[in-house]
């Protein structure tokens, strides 16, 4: 009985520590996306390189593809860019860029400097499409299946680990 007197506070302390430790390992910036399993919102906006041409997700129906939100002002986009370039070289999936709140000239120059892994980039100058996709910090990457359903969203730069462990297996499964 006496031991209980000491064990109860100790138990409460342990539970508290476990909760706090769990809190420390979580990244508060990674908010679960409400889009997973839902149709990619429709939009129709001009392309980055060809002002007269428009892009709409409809055009990608029947393909597994990636929508990557990027901008020339986005520092962490530079981090993931080599991975996107590499994915493009290996021809894993078509990657469509969503150039988010950027000046056309800055964006095209940036792609010349860092390489252009995108099949095309859509130009979301006022960030309206970004809002419809719940974008809150570039880079963000959406993986969309043949039916136009968003299957996965990656927030922040795509890391080699995320590519190998999550994206590639999922792409394989969706293509299979």
């Amino acid at each position: 009985m006496k031991a209980l007197k000491y064990l109860v506070p100790l138990g409460i302390f342990v539970v508290l520590v476990v909760f706090l430790a769990m809190g420390l390992t979580k990244d508060p910036r990674k908010v679960p996306s409400p889009f997973i399993g839902k149709s990619a919102p429709a939009f129709s906006i001009p392309q980055l390189h060809d002002e007269k041409a428009v892009f709409s997700p409809e055009q990608m129906k029947g393909k597994v593809w990636m929508l990557n939100v990027w901008a020339s002002w986005c520092v962490s986009c530079r981090v993931e860019h080599p991975i996107l370039n590499d994915m493009n070289r290996r021809g894993i999936v078509p990657i469509v860029g969503l150039n988010y709140k950027d000046a056309r000239a800055d964006a095209t120059k940036w792609l010349q400097q860092h390489g252009d892994p995108y099949a095309l980039s859509a130009w979301d100058f006022d960030g309206k499409v970004g809002i419809d996709y719940g974008v809150y910090g570039a880079p963000e990457t959406f993986l969309i299946d043949k039916q136009g359903v968003i299957r996965y969203k990656h927030i922040g730069p795509v890391t080699p680990e995320a590519l190998e462990k999550t994206l590639l297996p999922l792409i394989k499964q969706l293509n299979g």
Binding site: P28, R29, V31, P32, S33, P34, K101, D126, G127, I131, D132, Y133, G134, Y136, G137
Partner: protein, 162 residues
């Protein structure tokens, strides 16, 4: 009086500094602005997560305020505007998230802790009450004799160290 004047002057001068840098597109109708404030006070800015959309000057917050303004102008209800935000950013965007399986612990947890703590306290206090009180009783005759003999022999006994 002088101090008061100085204080008033300081307050007047600091007002423009304290005033929030608002985006240029403020709605002409103050009623719309008031509603915007009410709605955006309850929405979290996902870029700087501990600020509301009404407080934040992050570009996304400015965009979302513009969006809310547009929706108010289009005659959308507060509920529709909130649903619009939740559709895009999830329940996390609400400062008062709805009660569901994921948020149950969040809502119920503090109550459970308070009730549990109070219950524990009550049990502890009750237990303390039933404990017999330790009181000193007057020594009986036999005991007195023993004490007396002890006192007498004090001279021979080793003195306790202090």
């Amino acid at each position: 009086m002088k101090r008061l004047l100085a204080l008033a002057l300081a307050a007047a001068l600091s007002a423009p500094v304290l005033a929030k840098i608002e985006d240029k597109s403020v709605a002409a109708d103050p009623a719309v602005e008031r509603r915007l404030k009410e709605i955006s006070d309850e929405l979290r800015c996902l870029v700087c997560q501990n600020q509301t959309i009404s407080d934040s000057d992050a570009p996304l917050a400015v965009d979302l305020r513009t969006q809310i303004r547009k929706m108010i102008d289009a005659g959308k209800s507060d509920e529709e505007i909130r649903a619009y935000m939740v559709d895009r950013y999830g329940d996390f965007v609400l400062y008062r998230p709805p009660f569901n399986a994921v948020t149950a612990l969040l809502w119920v947890g503090p109550g459970v802790l308070v009730v549990g703590g109070l219950a524990g306290l009550v049990i502890m206090l009750r237990r303390r009450k039933v404990q017999p009180e330790v009181t000193a009783s007057a020594p009986d005759a036999g005991k007195l004799k023993e004490i007396a003999s002890l006192l007498e022999s004090e001279g021979d006994a080793p003195t306790p160290r202090r």
